[in-house]
Protein backbone atom coordinates (compact mmCIF):
# COMPACT_ATOMS: atom_id res chain seq x y z
CA UNK A 1 0.00 0.00 0.00
CA UNK A 2 2.94 2.35 0.67
CA UNK A 3 4.02 1.80 -2.94
CA UNK A 4 0.54 2.77 -4.13
CA UNK A 5 0.63 6.35 -2.84
CA UNK A 6 3.60 7.54 -4.95
CA UNK A 7 1.96 5.90 -7.96
CA UNK A 8 -1.25 7.80 -7.33
CA UNK A 9 0.65 11.07 -6.95
CA UNK A 10 2.49 10.41 -10.23
CA UNK A 11 -0.84 9.71 -11.96
CA UNK A 12 -2.29 12.96 -10.66
CA UNK A 13 0.81 14.78 -11.93
CA UNK A 14 0.40 13.21 -15.36
CA UNK A 15 -3.21 14.38 -15.46
CA UNK A 16 -2.05 17.93 -14.77
CA UNK A 17 0.66 18.13 -17.39
CA UNK A 18 0.05 15.65 -20.19
CA UNK A 19 -3.64 16.40 -20.64
CA UNK A 20 -3.60 20.23 -20.45
CA UNK A 21 -4.70 20.81 -24.06
CA UNK A 22 -7.95 18.77 -23.68
CA UNK A 23 -10.99 20.91 -24.52
CA UNK A 24 -13.70 20.91 -21.81
CA UNK A 25 -16.60 18.83 -23.10
CA UNK A 26 -19.09 20.53 -20.82
CA UNK A 27 -18.90 24.22 -21.66
CA UNK A 28 -19.14 26.83 -18.89
CA UNK A 29 -22.52 27.94 -20.26
CA UNK A 30 -23.84 24.36 -20.05
CA UNK A 31 -23.43 24.00 -16.29
CA UNK A 32 -26.91 25.02 -15.18
CA UNK A 33 -27.69 21.59 -13.63
CA UNK A 34 -24.27 21.24 -12.00
CA UNK A 35 -24.71 24.71 -10.45
CA UNK A 36 -28.03 23.71 -8.89
CA UNK A 37 -27.66 23.54 -5.07
CA UNK A 38 -29.17 20.02 -5.07
CA UNK A 39 -26.12 18.84 -7.05
CA UNK A 40 -23.60 20.17 -4.52
CA UNK A 41 -21.15 17.53 -3.36
CA UNK A 42 -21.24 18.67 0.28
CA UNK A 43 -24.09 21.16 0.83
CA UNK A 44 -24.09 21.00 4.64
CA UNK A 45 -20.61 20.51 6.10
CA UNK A 46 -21.82 20.54 9.74
CA UNK A 47 -24.18 17.69 8.93
CA UNK A 48 -21.84 15.54 6.84
CA UNK A 49 -18.94 15.84 9.28
CA UNK A 50 -21.29 14.91 12.14
CA UNK A 51 -22.60 11.77 10.39
CA UNK A 52 -19.03 10.77 9.42
CA UNK A 53 -18.18 11.03 13.12
CA UNK A 54 -21.20 8.92 14.16
CA UNK A 55 -20.26 6.12 11.74
CA UNK A 56 -16.56 6.26 12.62
CA UNK A 57 -17.41 5.72 16.29
CA UNK A 58 -19.80 2.83 15.65
CA UNK A 59 -17.77 1.06 12.97
CA UNK A 60 -14.20 0.00 12.30
CA UNK A 61 -13.66 1.82 9.00
CA UNK A 62 -12.67 5.43 8.52
CA UNK A 63 -11.55 7.79 5.80
CA UNK A 64 -12.11 8.56 2.11
CA UNK A 65 -15.29 10.50 2.78
CA UNK A 66 -14.25 13.87 1.29
CA UNK A 67 -14.90 15.59 -2.03
CA UNK A 68 -14.59 19.09 -3.52
CA UNK A 69 -15.54 20.41 -6.92
CA UNK A 70 -18.45 20.20 -9.34
CA UNK A 71 -20.72 23.20 -9.13
CA UNK A 72 -21.06 26.15 -11.44
CA UNK A 73 -17.39 26.63 -12.36
CA UNK A 74 -17.88 30.40 -12.23
CA UNK A 75 -15.08 32.82 -11.41
Amino acid sequence: MRKLLPLLLATATLLVTACAPIEPWVKPYEREHLADPIMAIDPDPVSSSYMDHVFEVREGAKGATGGYGGGCGCS
Binding site: L5, V46, V54, G63, C74, S75
Partner: protein, 383 residues
Protein backbone atom coordinates in the same frame (compact mmCIF):
# COMPACT_ATOMS: atom_id res chain seq x y z
CA UNK B 1 9.22 7.07 4.89
CA UNK B 2 7.10 9.99 6.05
CA UNK B 3 9.62 12.71 5.06
CA UNK B 4 9.88 11.30 1.54
CA UNK B 5 6.10 11.18 1.11
CA UNK B 6 5.78 14.74 2.44
CA UNK B 7 8.43 15.87 -0.09
CA UNK B 8 6.48 14.25 -2.88
CA UNK B 9 3.26 15.92 -1.77
CA UNK B 10 5.04 19.28 -1.57
CA UNK B 11 6.48 18.82 -5.09
CA UNK B 12 3.06 18.03 -6.50
CA UNK B 13 1.50 20.96 -4.65
CA UNK B 14 4.08 23.32 -6.17
CA UNK B 15 3.42 21.86 -9.58
CA UNK B 16 -0.30 22.34 -9.23
CA UNK B 17 0.20 25.90 -8.02
CA UNK B 18 2.27 26.97 -11.02
CA UNK B 19 -0.29 25.79 -13.56
CA UNK B 20 -2.80 28.50 -12.54
CA UNK B 21 -4.16 30.77 -15.28
CA UNK B 22 -7.71 31.91 -14.59
CA UNK B 23 -9.29 32.50 -11.21
CA UNK B 24 -11.49 30.16 -9.18
CA UNK B 25 -13.87 31.09 -6.35
CA UNK B 26 -13.94 30.37 -2.64
CA UNK B 27 -17.17 29.00 -1.16
CA UNK B 28 -19.72 31.49 0.15
CA UNK B 29 -19.98 32.98 3.63
CA UNK B 30 -22.27 31.03 5.90
CA UNK B 31 -23.21 30.24 9.48
CA UNK B 32 -24.81 27.01 10.72
CA UNK B 33 -26.25 26.28 14.13
CA UNK B 34 -27.07 22.64 14.80
CA UNK B 35 -28.47 20.51 17.57
CA UNK B 36 -27.44 16.86 17.25
CA UNK B 37 -28.64 13.85 19.17
CA UNK B 38 -27.67 10.20 19.01
CA UNK B 39 -29.71 7.76 21.06
CA UNK B 40 -29.35 3.99 21.05
CA UNK B 41 -27.62 1.01 22.60
CA UNK B 42 -27.92 2.61 26.03
CA UNK B 43 -26.05 5.73 24.97
CA UNK B 44 -27.32 9.26 24.49
CA UNK B 45 -24.99 11.84 22.98
CA UNK B 46 -26.29 15.29 22.22
CA UNK B 47 -25.09 18.82 21.84
CA UNK B 48 -24.55 21.79 19.58
CA UNK B 49 -22.40 22.33 16.55
CA UNK B 50 -21.85 25.90 15.40
CA UNK B 51 -19.99 26.82 12.24
CA UNK B 52 -19.10 30.28 10.94
CA UNK B 53 -17.36 30.91 7.65
CA UNK B 54 -16.23 34.24 6.28
CA UNK B 55 -14.29 35.42 3.26
CA UNK B 56 -11.78 38.26 3.56
CA UNK B 57 -11.46 39.89 0.17
CA UNK B 58 -11.44 37.48 -2.76
CA UNK B 59 -8.46 35.38 -1.69
CA UNK B 60 -8.83 34.46 1.97
CA UNK B 61 -11.47 32.65 3.98
CA UNK B 62 -11.67 31.30 7.51
CA UNK B 63 -14.02 28.73 9.02
CA UNK B 64 -14.47 28.15 12.74
CA UNK B 65 -16.45 25.35 14.35
CA UNK B 66 -17.46 24.70 17.95
CA UNK B 67 -18.86 21.27 18.71
CA UNK B 68 -19.91 19.54 21.91
CA UNK B 69 -20.82 15.94 22.70
CA UNK B 70 -22.67 15.55 26.01
CA UNK B 71 -22.49 11.84 26.66
CA UNK B 72 -24.61 9.75 28.98
CA UNK B 73 -23.63 6.14 28.64
CA UNK B 74 -24.92 2.87 29.96
CA UNK B 75 -23.79 0.98 26.88
CA UNK B 76 -23.47 -2.77 26.84
CA UNK B 77 -19.75 -2.44 27.52
CA UNK B 78 -20.41 -0.30 30.59
CA UNK B 79 -23.23 -2.49 31.93
CA UNK B 80 -21.46 -5.81 31.52
CA UNK B 81 -18.26 -4.58 33.13
CA UNK B 82 -20.29 -3.78 36.21
CA UNK B 83 -19.81 -0.03 35.94
CA UNK B 84 -22.70 2.37 36.32
CA UNK B 85 -24.00 4.92 33.83
CA UNK B 86 -21.51 7.70 33.36
CA UNK B 87 -21.70 11.21 31.98
CA UNK B 88 -18.99 12.84 29.95
CA UNK B 89 -18.50 15.97 27.94
CA UNK B 90 -16.33 16.33 24.86
CA UNK B 91 -15.59 19.75 23.45
CA UNK B 92 -14.14 20.28 20.00
CA UNK B 93 -12.90 23.53 18.52
CA UNK B 94 -11.55 23.95 15.03
CA UNK B 95 -10.23 26.69 12.82
CA UNK B 96 -9.50 26.41 9.10
CA UNK B 97 -8.06 29.05 6.77
CA UNK B 98 -8.06 29.02 2.99
CA UNK B 99 -6.03 30.95 0.46
CA UNK B 100 -7.06 31.09 -3.18
CA UNK B 101 -4.52 31.88 -5.86
CA UNK B 102 -5.63 31.43 -9.46
CA UNK B 103 -7.26 28.01 -9.63
CA UNK B 104 -5.50 26.67 -6.55
CA UNK B 105 -6.87 26.67 -3.02
CA UNK B 106 -4.48 26.09 -0.13
CA UNK B 107 -5.92 25.34 3.27
CA UNK B 108 -4.65 24.73 6.76
CA UNK B 109 -6.65 23.71 9.80
CA UNK B 110 -6.33 22.91 13.46
CA UNK B 111 -8.77 20.82 15.47
CA UNK B 112 -8.64 20.41 19.22
CA UNK B 113 -10.86 17.89 20.98
CA UNK B 114 -10.98 17.51 24.75
CA UNK B 115 -12.74 15.32 27.25
CA UNK B 116 -11.63 14.50 30.76
CA UNK B 117 -9.37 11.59 29.81
CA UNK B 118 -8.70 12.22 26.13
CA UNK B 119 -7.18 15.18 24.38
CA UNK B 120 -6.62 15.20 20.62
CA UNK B 121 -4.96 17.85 18.45
CA UNK B 122 -4.98 17.54 14.67
CA UNK B 123 -3.10 19.75 12.20
CA UNK B 124 -4.02 19.53 8.52
CA UNK B 125 -2.82 20.96 5.24
CA UNK B 126 -4.42 20.54 1.85
CA UNK B 127 -4.24 21.83 -1.70
CA UNK B 128 -6.92 21.66 -4.34
CA UNK B 129 -6.69 22.61 -8.00
CA UNK B 130 -9.38 23.23 -10.63
CA UNK B 131 -8.40 22.30 -14.16
CA UNK B 132 -9.65 21.37 -17.67
CA UNK B 133 -12.09 24.26 -17.81
CA UNK B 134 -13.15 23.62 -14.19
CA UNK B 135 -14.31 20.10 -15.05
CA UNK B 136 -11.73 18.52 -12.80
CA UNK B 137 -10.70 19.23 -9.23
CA UNK B 138 -7.68 17.43 -7.83
CA UNK B 139 -6.95 17.66 -4.15
CA UNK B 140 -4.38 16.36 -1.70
CA UNK B 141 -4.22 16.60 2.02
CA UNK B 142 -2.09 15.64 4.96
CA UNK B 143 -3.04 15.56 8.64
CA UNK B 144 -0.97 15.01 11.72
CA UNK B 145 -2.69 14.15 14.97
CA UNK B 146 -1.43 13.84 18.50
CA UNK B 147 -3.68 12.31 21.14
CA UNK B 148 -3.03 12.30 24.88
CA UNK B 149 -4.83 9.52 26.71
CA UNK B 150 -5.53 9.18 30.40
CA UNK B 151 -7.79 6.96 32.47
CA UNK B 152 -10.36 8.08 35.00
CA UNK B 153 -9.94 4.69 36.68
CA UNK B 154 -6.14 4.84 36.98
CA UNK B 155 -4.67 8.34 37.47
CA UNK B 156 -1.11 7.11 36.85
CA UNK B 157 -1.98 5.96 33.33
CA UNK B 158 -0.74 8.22 30.53
CA UNK B 159 -0.17 7.32 26.92
CA UNK B 160 -0.78 8.71 23.46
CA UNK B 161 -1.32 8.18 19.77
CA UNK B 162 0.38 9.73 16.77
CA UNK B 163 -1.71 9.67 13.64
CA UNK B 164 -0.94 10.62 10.06
CA UNK B 165 -3.57 10.84 7.30
CA UNK B 166 -2.75 11.12 3.60
CA UNK B 167 -5.59 12.02 1.26
CA UNK B 168 -5.88 12.28 -2.51
CA UNK B 169 -9.12 13.18 -4.25
CA UNK B 170 -10.43 13.78 -7.75
CA UNK B 171 -13.81 15.27 -8.63
CA UNK B 172 -14.75 15.11 -12.29
CA UNK B 173 -17.65 16.57 -14.24
CA UNK B 174 -18.55 13.75 -16.62
CA UNK B 175 -21.58 15.25 -18.38
CA UNK B 176 -23.93 18.22 -17.90
CA UNK B 177 -25.81 16.00 -15.48
CA UNK B 178 -23.20 13.75 -13.91
CA UNK B 179 -20.46 14.31 -11.36
CA UNK B 180 -17.96 11.73 -10.16
CA UNK B 181 -15.72 11.84 -7.11
CA UNK B 182 -12.86 9.49 -6.24
CA UNK B 183 -11.13 9.59 -2.89
CA UNK B 184 -8.29 7.72 -1.34
CA UNK B 185 -7.09 7.98 2.24
CA UNK B 186 -4.29 6.21 4.06
CA UNK B 187 -3.97 6.47 7.83
CA UNK B 188 -1.07 5.32 9.98
CA UNK B 189 -1.41 5.30 13.74
CA UNK B 190 0.98 4.41 16.49
CA UNK B 191 0.65 4.36 20.22
CA UNK B 192 -2.03 3.24 22.63
CA UNK B 193 -4.64 2.00 20.18
CA UNK B 194 -6.78 -0.01 22.56
CA UNK B 195 -9.60 1.14 24.78
CA UNK B 196 -8.86 1.35 28.54
CA UNK B 197 -12.54 0.73 29.32
CA UNK B 198 -12.99 -2.31 27.12
CA UNK B 199 -12.34 -5.84 28.28
CA UNK B 200 -12.01 -9.35 26.88
CA UNK B 201 -13.52 -12.47 28.35
CA UNK B 202 -12.07 -15.93 28.66
CA UNK B 203 -13.17 -19.29 29.92
CA UNK B 204 -12.03 -19.75 33.51
CA UNK B 205 -13.81 -22.92 34.47
CA UNK B 206 -16.70 -25.10 33.29
CA UNK B 207 -19.70 -22.96 32.40
CA UNK B 208 -18.01 -19.75 33.52
CA UNK B 209 -15.97 -16.86 32.19
CA UNK B 210 -13.94 -13.99 33.57
CA UNK B 211 -13.12 -10.57 32.23
CA UNK B 212 -9.63 -9.35 31.37
CA UNK B 213 -7.73 -6.49 29.78
CA UNK B 214 -7.71 -6.13 26.03
CA UNK B 215 -4.31 -5.93 24.30
CA UNK B 216 -4.01 -4.42 20.86
CA UNK B 217 -0.97 -3.76 18.65
CA UNK B 218 0.65 -0.37 18.95
CA UNK B 219 0.51 0.32 15.22
CA UNK B 220 -2.31 0.32 12.72
CA UNK B 221 -2.26 1.30 9.05
CA UNK B 222 -5.42 1.59 6.98
CA UNK B 223 -6.29 2.33 3.38
CA UNK B 224 -9.69 3.41 2.13
CA UNK B 225 -10.84 4.19 -1.40
CA UNK B 226 -14.25 5.51 -2.40
CA UNK B 227 -16.12 6.34 -5.56
CA UNK B 228 -19.17 8.55 -5.74
CA UNK B 229 -21.54 9.48 -8.58
CA UNK B 230 -24.14 12.21 -8.46
CA UNK B 231 -26.72 12.43 -11.22
CA UNK B 232 -29.19 15.20 -12.08
CA UNK B 233 -32.60 13.80 -12.96
CA UNK B 234 -34.60 15.68 -15.62
CA UNK B 235 -37.56 16.57 -13.34
CA UNK B 236 -35.13 18.40 -11.05
CA UNK B 237 -33.95 15.84 -8.55
CA UNK B 238 -30.59 14.27 -7.72
CA UNK B 239 -29.44 10.71 -7.16
CA UNK B 240 -26.20 10.08 -5.29
CA UNK B 241 -24.51 6.69 -5.08
CA UNK B 242 -21.36 5.90 -3.12
CA UNK B 243 -19.13 2.93 -2.48
CA UNK B 244 -16.12 2.71 -0.19
CA UNK B 245 -13.67 -0.09 0.45
CA UNK B 246 -11.58 -0.11 3.62
CA UNK B 247 -8.78 -2.40 4.68
CA UNK B 248 -6.28 -2.26 7.52
CA UNK B 249 -3.36 -4.11 9.04
CA UNK B 250 -5.54 -5.40 11.87
CA UNK B 251 -7.32 -7.58 9.30
CA UNK B 252 -10.51 -5.55 8.94
CA UNK B 253 -12.00 -5.31 5.46
CA UNK B 254 -15.13 -3.22 5.14
CA UNK B 255 -17.54 -2.28 2.38
CA UNK B 256 -19.82 0.75 2.52
CA UNK B 257 -22.53 1.39 -0.07
CA UNK B 258 -25.04 4.19 0.00
CA UNK B 259 -27.74 5.77 -2.08
CA UNK B 260 -29.36 9.16 -1.53
CA UNK B 261 -32.24 10.75 -3.40
CA UNK B 262 -32.86 14.52 -3.30
CA UNK B 263 -36.20 15.96 -4.36
CA UNK B 264 -37.07 19.67 -4.24
CA UNK B 265 -40.79 20.39 -3.88
CA UNK B 266 -43.14 23.36 -3.73
CA UNK B 267 -40.52 26.06 -4.35
CA UNK B 268 -39.04 26.21 -0.81
CA UNK B 269 -38.69 22.61 0.30
CA UNK B 270 -36.03 19.99 -0.42
CA UNK B 271 -36.50 16.40 0.77
CA UNK B 272 -33.88 13.66 0.92
CA UNK B 273 -34.14 9.93 1.46
CA UNK B 274 -31.13 7.68 1.92
CA UNK B 275 -30.06 4.12 2.58
CA UNK B 276 -26.60 3.06 3.66
CA UNK B 277 -25.25 -0.46 4.03
CA UNK B 278 -22.02 -1.26 5.83
CA UNK B 279 -20.33 -4.60 6.45
CA UNK B 280 -17.02 -5.51 8.03
CA UNK B 281 -15.32 -8.66 9.09
CA UNK B 282 -13.63 -8.60 12.45
CA UNK B 283 -10.06 -7.84 13.29
CA UNK B 284 -7.88 -10.93 13.27
CA UNK B 285 -7.44 -10.83 17.07
CA UNK B 286 -11.13 -10.50 17.99
CA UNK B 287 -12.90 -13.26 19.84
CA UNK B 288 -16.08 -12.96 21.84
CA UNK B 289 -14.75 -15.65 24.16
CA UNK B 290 -11.09 -16.63 24.47
CA UNK B 291 -10.42 -20.21 25.56
CA UNK B 292 -7.97 -19.07 28.24
CA UNK B 293 -6.12 -15.96 29.45
CA UNK B 294 -2.99 -15.22 27.45
CA UNK B 295 -4.39 -17.18 24.51
CA UNK B 296 -2.55 -15.00 22.02
CA UNK B 297 -0.45 -11.84 21.99
CA UNK B 298 -3.25 -9.52 20.95
CA UNK B 299 -6.79 -10.00 22.17
CA UNK B 300 -9.85 -7.82 21.85
CA UNK B 301 -13.57 -8.10 22.42
CA UNK B 302 -14.22 -4.59 21.14
CA UNK B 303 -17.51 -4.84 19.27
CA UNK B 304 -16.53 -2.06 16.86
CA UNK B 305 -13.71 -4.33 15.71
CA UNK B 306 -15.90 -7.42 15.42
CA UNK B 307 -17.78 -8.70 12.35
CA UNK B 308 -20.86 -6.51 11.98
CA UNK B 309 -23.36 -5.08 9.51
CA UNK B 310 -25.05 -1.69 9.69
CA UNK B 311 -28.20 -0.65 7.87
CA UNK B 312 -29.03 3.02 8.02
CA UNK B 313 -32.09 4.71 6.60
CA UNK B 314 -32.37 8.47 6.57
CA UNK B 315 -34.90 11.17 5.83
CA UNK B 316 -34.25 14.87 5.55
CA UNK B 317 -36.31 17.98 5.05
CA UNK B 318 -35.00 21.44 4.31
CA UNK B 319 -37.08 24.61 4.20
CA UNK B 320 -35.80 27.84 2.68
CA UNK B 321 -37.55 30.46 4.73
CA UNK B 322 -38.63 33.84 3.35
CA UNK B 323 -36.24 36.53 4.55
CA UNK B 324 -38.53 39.49 5.08
CA UNK B 325 -36.76 42.16 7.11
CA UNK B 326 -33.59 40.03 7.37
CA UNK B 327 -32.89 40.32 3.61
CA UNK B 328 -30.67 43.33 4.24
CA UNK B 329 -28.06 41.18 5.96
CA UNK B 330 -28.89 37.60 4.92
CA UNK B 331 -28.88 36.30 1.33
CA UNK B 332 -30.52 32.99 2.05
CA UNK B 333 -31.58 30.90 5.03
CA UNK B 334 -32.72 27.30 5.56
CA UNK B 335 -34.12 25.29 8.45
CA UNK B 336 -33.21 21.60 8.26
CA UNK B 337 -34.18 18.36 9.98
CA UNK B 338 -32.32 15.12 9.25
CA UNK B 339 -33.28 11.87 10.92
CA UNK B 340 -31.31 8.62 10.60
CA UNK B 341 -32.15 5.20 11.99
CA UNK B 342 -29.22 2.83 12.42
CA UNK B 343 -29.50 -0.92 12.88
CA UNK B 344 -26.27 -2.69 13.81
CA UNK B 345 -26.08 -6.49 13.85
CA UNK B 346 -23.05 -8.19 15.35
CA UNK B 347 -22.40 -11.68 14.06
CA UNK B 348 -19.96 -12.77 16.79
CA UNK B 349 -20.33 -10.34 19.68
CA UNK B 350 -22.70 -11.68 22.29
CA UNK B 351 -25.07 -9.83 24.60
CA UNK B 352 -23.98 -10.62 28.16
CA UNK B 353 -26.39 -8.17 29.80
CA UNK B 354 -28.43 -10.81 31.64
CA UNK B 355 -25.75 -13.47 31.59
CA UNK B 356 -23.14 -12.89 34.30
CA UNK B 357 -20.55 -15.66 34.73
CA UNK B 358 -22.04 -19.00 35.58
CA UNK B 359 -25.57 -18.39 34.28
CA UNK B 360 -25.22 -19.75 30.76
CA UNK B 361 -22.77 -21.86 28.84
CA UNK B 362 -20.30 -19.20 27.62
CA UNK B 363 -20.62 -18.75 23.88
CA UNK B 364 -24.36 -19.53 23.78
CA UNK B 365 -25.60 -16.11 24.82
CA UNK B 366 -27.67 -14.30 22.18
CA UNK B 367 -25.84 -12.20 19.66
CA UNK B 368 -25.97 -8.48 20.31
CA UNK B 369 -27.64 -5.94 18.06
CA UNK B 370 -28.37 -2.30 18.57
CA UNK B 371 -30.53 0.30 16.95
CA UNK B 372 -30.07 4.02 17.27
CA UNK B 373 -31.82 7.19 16.21
CA UNK B 374 -29.79 10.15 15.10
CA UNK B 375 -31.42 13.54 14.84
CA UNK B 376 -29.93 16.71 13.46
CA UNK B 377 -31.79 19.98 13.51
CA UNK B 378 -29.92 22.93 12.05
CA UNK B 379 -30.45 26.42 10.70
CA UNK B 380 -28.13 27.76 8.01
CA UNK B 381 -27.60 31.35 6.90
CA UNK B 382 -25.73 32.64 3.89
CA UNK B 383 -24.77 36.29 4.31
Amino acid sequence: MKTVVWQRIAALALLLGTAAVHAGVLAEDRADVMYHRYQGGGITVQGPSVLVRKKFGESFAATANYYVDNISSASIDVVVSGASRYAERREQKSLAVEYLRGKTTYSASFVNSEENDYKADTYSLSVSQDMFGDLTTVSMGYSYGKDHIGSSVDPTFADGIERRNYRVGLTQVLTRNLLASLNFEAVTEQGYLQNPYRFIRFVNGPGSYALGQEVAPRTRTSNAGSVRLKYYLPWRAALDGQYRFYTDTWGINAHTAGLEYTQPLWNRWVFTGSYRYYTQNGTNFFMDLFPRPGYQNFMTRDKENSPLQTHTIGLGASYEFPLGFASSFIKRGTANLHVNHLMVNYSQFRNLTNFPPGTAEPGTEPLYSLSANVIQFFVSFWY
